[in-house]
Amino acid sequence: MTAATIFVGILMVISGILAIESKKLLDSFIFLSLLSLLSVFLFIVLKAPDVAITEASVGAGLVTAVLILALRKIGGDEK
């Protein structure tokens, strides 16, 4: 279990850095969504199923949807 936690943790840090540093905004959103999904795994490890289900639907689903809809309104990536 600890090995899996550490692995997920490293993945989270990497996807966090990529979410910040990606050139394209859409990539950023996807990495942010990935980060959320990985945190869902950690919430399950921490015995918090309520938080996990909320984070999966709100954090990973709705946040990404809102961001992508906003990006579409803006008219796509700048560069």
Binding site: T2, T5, G9, I20, L32, L46, V51, L67, L71
Partner: protein
């Protein structure tokens, strides 16, 4: 362990907030910090060898981790998404008013 992950993620979020020029990235950093802090809060309630705080067929008698941080995080997640949606709406208006999302170009346009 999970403490360290969430603290490093908070650091990454703050770094993104300070270093990036695109306003959309600021919003992403904010969401990242929110997730990291939620992770931290839930992990303050974890107790080794205890189960999820739900009475059920599998855990008919209380042997639970701390449920209160989980309840607080539920609230915090929803508050976070509300603020994020407001920010996204403002970004659309910024783009409409200034034609760009770059901080430096907006500051130049303001003067």
């Amino acid at each position: 362990m999970i403490y360290y992950i969430s603290i490093i993620l908070i650091g990454i979020g703050v770094y993104g907030l300070l270093s990036q020029k695109n306003l959309f990235k600021h919003l992403i950093s904010l969401a990242l910090i929110d997730t990291a802090i939620n992770l931290f809060i839930v992990s303050t309630g974890y107790i080794n060898g205890k189960e999820a705080p739900i009475y059920s067929e599998f855990t008919p008698i209380a042997n639970f981790v701390d449920p209160l941080p989980q309840a607080l995080v539920l609230t915090a997640i929803v508050i976070g998404v509300g603020v994020l949606a407001l920010g996204a709406a403002m970004l659309i208006k910024i783009k409409e008013k200034y034609g760009t999302l770059n901080v430096e170009e907006i500051r130049r346009g303001d003067k």
